[in-house]
């Protein structure tokens, strides 16, 4: 790679102080550091450093998303041909899905990266790697038939107003990908809710209702088998359907030390215990539904693994993470079962808890402060 390095070193002066293209230094910087980890050495403090950086961390989240994405692409094709009653081969289904999903990914990345580059340029800070994850998360939580312009508008809205205005990755208090989805959810509800949008170019006669909608309507006999729910052969947002693929990603994330096991587990516990509680109360058939169905339905698992765990918008303290995750599970079930308007509650539950995360942390930190002050009293006695 020496020739590449030499070329970069040759053109680098143009982008530095006094160079003709100085104004693009942030963009140049982004590409240079993408190709080569810089030659910076430690100047203060510890002389050695861990090999990990934020680029690698973010890339590993993207890698963890790959199984769910690949299955999602296949499932888009599978559901489409199923609704038309056609039986075609694996590759044809995959290709159909690919042609549906690829444009959404391209739009999401082009819009988010453009804004990110522009923001980095204007503010003179380096490119934030968080956009790599946001750019792939947004397509995966969209229905396959979402109009591309909506993806573009929603992405732009979330990157600008949920992230850049606060100072970029690390300073935002809401998960940007969920803000993009919430934007469409409230601005263009018909494009992202109802029974018609979850299967790409669905045949009119075919019911495209998600399991959550069916449960909401108390049509429990129509709900797909547990096996199909696990593997993901159900209609839904592109990346959310296959619980197995999501779990593979979850295990990977936790194993490499990037994902927070605390948040994932506590949110699942919160979800299941609330569902169990409803089983006990049992006021209507939805409450009586087997509790574990909540885990298999909709986008909960995807949200818990990939969005609730976003370290920036989640609680930052160890105890806070457990409370935060648990409440996400609780609120998800509450919205699903008790609220008649929205069949799915994951998105709103996570966004709500994003808002409350700093409050939770405040009390956890305060408890630490009080415990440490108590030490004085004990030692004085």
């Amino acid at each position: 790679m020496n020739f590449l390095r030499k070329y970069i070193d040759k053109i680098k002066p143009n982008f530095q102080e006094g160079g003709k293209l100085k104004m693009f230094h942030s963009t140049f910087d982004a590409f240079e550091t993408f190709l080569f980890v810089p030659n910076d050495v430690t100047k203060k403090g510890s002389h050695i450093r861990d090999s990990i950086d934020l680029k690698r961390t973010m890339i590993f989240v993207v890698i963890a998303l790959v199984p769910a994405l690949l299955f999602g692409i296949y499932n888009v094709g599978y559901q489409h041909f199923l609704s038309h009653g056609e039986s075609v081969g694996f590759w044809q289904m995959f290709f159909y899905g690919f042609m549906k999903v690829l444009p959404i990914i391209v739009v999401s990345y082009v819009v988010s990266l453009t804004i990110e580059f522009a923001a980095a340029q204007i503010k003179g800070h380096p490119l934030n790697e968080g956009v790599l994850v946001t750019g792939i998360l947004i397509p995966m939580i969209m229905p396959p038939d979402i109009p591309l312009w909506m993806v573009a508008v929603a992405t732009a809205f979330s990157i600008i107003f949920a992230k850049e205005v606060f100072g970029g990755t690390g300073m935002n208090f809401l998960n940007p990908a969920l803000v993009a989805r919430a934007f469409i959810f409230f601005a263009y509800p018909s494009a992202i809710s109802g029974d018609k949008v979850w299967i790409a170019e669905k045949a009119d006669a075919f019911s495209g209702a998600t399991s959550l909608a069916q449960a909401s309507a108390h049509e429990f006999d129509k709900i797909a088998s547990v096996q199909d729910l696990m593997i993901g052969f159900v209609p839904g947002s592109i990346g959310e359907t296959s619980k197995i693929a999501i779990l593979i990603g979850a295990v990977f994330l936790v194993f490499v030390g990037v994902g927070s096991l605390r948040i994932i587990l506590s949110s699942i516990v919160g979800l299941l215990s609330t569902a169990l509680l409803f089983n006990v109360i049992g006021l209507n058939p939805y409450m009586d539904m087997p509790f574990y169905y909540h885990l298999l339905f909709g986008g909960f698992l995807f949200g818990a693994v990939f969005m609730a765990t976003d370290p920036v918008s989640a609680s930052q303290t160890a105890k806070g993470k457990i409370i935060y995750g648990f409440l996400i599970g609780v609120i998800t079930v509450l919205i699903r079962v008790v609220n008649p308007a929205y069949p799915e509650g994951t998105m709103l539950a996570i966004l709500l808890m994003n808002v409350f995360a700093p409050l939770i942390d405040y009390y956890v930190v305060d408890a630490n402060v009080k415990r440490r002050l108590k030490r004085v009293k004990v030692s004085n006695n």
């Binding site: 790679m1 590449l4 390095r5 550091t33 993408f34 190709l35 080569f36 980890v37 810089p38 030659n39 910076d40 050495v41 430690t42 100047k43 203060k44 403090g45 510890s46 002389h47 050695i48 450093r49 861990d50 090999s51 990990i52 950086d53 934020l54 680029k55 690698r56 961390t57 890339i59 380096p126 934030n128 790697e129 968080g130 100072g167 970029g168 990755t169 690390g170 300073m171 194993f255 490499v256 030390g257 990037v258 927070s260 605390r262 370290p311 989640a314 930052q316 303290t317 160890a318 993470k321 942390d361 930190v365 630490n368 402060v369 415990r371 440490r372 002050l373 030490r375 004085v376 030692s379």
Partner: protein, 451 residues
């Protein structure tokens, strides 16, 4: 009452270049350079007592602390002042003494066998041993007027490539005992000595020491940091002070008391992969690295006074810091790495498992000084906690420091910590924040604002 403190959070970084157990001698020869470095003493504004070319004896004060003129800093060798090195804003960096090899020392007055507290204090102040006593909060030289609630001594060093104290202080226990007996005069509380189940082992030579409370630690670095030990044995609350001193300085105080001779010698180590033969040496305080090892290509080597975690970078001709007892040399890391964010990394050190090196947990690394990434906002949470065995929230404390919220800093524990306690957090920080710098600057500002 002896306690066993188990440290679970922490990290032992295995590095290549461990010091071989053989002690060489670095005699003070005519023409060799030695130095005292005022920058070793946080918070001290030095006032010079000597001029260039002036001749000094071993034990002649070179400078004193402006805020407390009693505290003087003495020349470790006899000879003449070769240079007074200043940096930006005339900051005094080094007072360099060229040795004459005679090692003539200042007169040591009569030292009685049963000294009182004040006599002993004056002795330490006069011969430059007082700066060896430091205090928490703030990790600064103790104030002679204070009465600390306890005095702490660490019987081991858990940092990477640290010397084996059992080896260094073998056959020196009686001198150390002598010093401990006197040091105990300085506090109404206890003197604590901490040992480690692995670093010191079952048959520790320090077990026979009396007049101290011995406690045992288990687990990885930072179990050997004095801050960790104070926190777990007798934590500092608002208004309290604890002092600490190293075994190296105690030994010299013991020599002064027992042999009535001035000694500023220590057993130091060379360690790190860049040394040809890393081993132990008898040397005097302030010794120059160039007296021991010459580097052919000094540009490619990072030379450090102290350890890789919290030592100070020096030139290849630099001097040993006052509180340090090792020189470390590791490769500089000023290279580019192609697509480092995706390469499998079988030989990359990381506490995460994002590199395949997790397959080889016992590997000894030859780590260089590359940053492996660029500075970013805080993103990842919960990582510092894994290497920070305190009832203190590291990330929240650092954030309070960054936003300069002094009340919050105090509530979250700034009075207990020092920069070295955040060294491991700094090593593993994904966002590459300079934590030790943040902590030291915050302590300095805190003293200005609140004390």
């Amino acid at each position: 009452m002896t306690k066993i403190v188990k440290i679970k959070k922490g990290l032992d970084i295995k590095l290549k270049g461990k010091s071989r157990k053989d002690i060489g001698d670095i005699a003070v020869k005519s023409g060799d350079l030695y130095a005292m470095k005022p920058i070793d003493f946080a918070g001290v504004i030095p006032k010079l007592l000597v001029k260039e070319e002036e001749s000094v004896k071993k034990g002649t004060p070179l400078f004193y602390s402006k805020s407390n003129p009693e505290i003087v800093f003495c020349s470790p060798v006899s000879g003449s002042v070769k240079a007074v090195v200043r940096g930006d804003k005339r900051l005094l960096l080094e007072v360099v003494v060229e040795a004459d090899g005679a090692q003539e020392s200042v007169d040591v007055e009569n030292i009685g066998d049963a000294m009182k507290k004040e006599e002993f204090k004056n002795l330490l102040l006069k011969y430059g041993f007082w700066p060896a006593i430091r205090q928490r909060p703030f990790n600064i030289i103790a104030s002679p007027e204070d009465s600390p609630k306890a005095i702490f001594i660490s019987g081991f060093d858990s940092a990477p490539l640290a010397p084996d104290f059992e080896y260094v202080f073998k056959n020196r226990i009686e001198l150390i005992q002598k010093a401990i007996d006197s040091i105990a005069l300085l506090t109404d509380g206890k003197v604590y000595l901490s040992l480690h189940n692995k670093h010191n082992g079952e048959n520790s030579i320090f077990k026979t020491l009396k007049n101290v409370e011995i406690n045992y630690f288990e687990g990885p670095h930072p179990s050997g940091n004095i801050g960790t030990q104070i926190h777990h044995l007798d934590p500092i609350n608002i208004g309290e002070t604890a002092w600490f001193i190293s075994l190296f300085d105690l030994l010299n105080i013991g020599r002064l008391l027992e042999e009535k001779k001035l000694s500023y010698d220590k057993v130091i180590t060379l360690s790190g992969a860049e040394f040809n033969d890393p081993k132990y040496y008898n040397a005097s305080s302030g010794v120059s690295l160039s007296s021991i090892e010459q580097f052919e290509n000094a540009q490619s080597v990072r030379t450090i006074s102290g350890n890789v975690l919290s030592g100070r970078q020096i030139s290849d001709k630099g001097f040993l810091g006052f509180y340090d007892y090792s020189f470390t040399a590791i490769p500089e890391g000023d290279y580019y790495e192609f697509m480092g964010w995706i390469m499998p990394g079988f030989k990359k050190f990381s506490v995460s498992r994002t590199f395949f090196s997790w397959l080889m947990p016992k590997r000894e690394y030859n780590l260089d000084t590359n940053m492996h990434g660029e500075l970013r906002n805080f993103v990842v949470t919960g990582q510092y906690e894994k290497v920070f065995p305190w009832d203190i929230m590291p990330q929240q404390l650092i954030k309070a420091m960054i936003v300069r919220d002094y009340d919050m800093m105090q509530n979250l524990g700034i009075l207990e910590v020092a920069e070295e306690d955040f060294a491991l957090c700094e090593v593993i920080c994904t966002s590459k924040n300079e934590l030790q710098d943040i902590v030291r600057n915050s302590i300095t500002d805190y003293i200005k604002e609140m004390v």
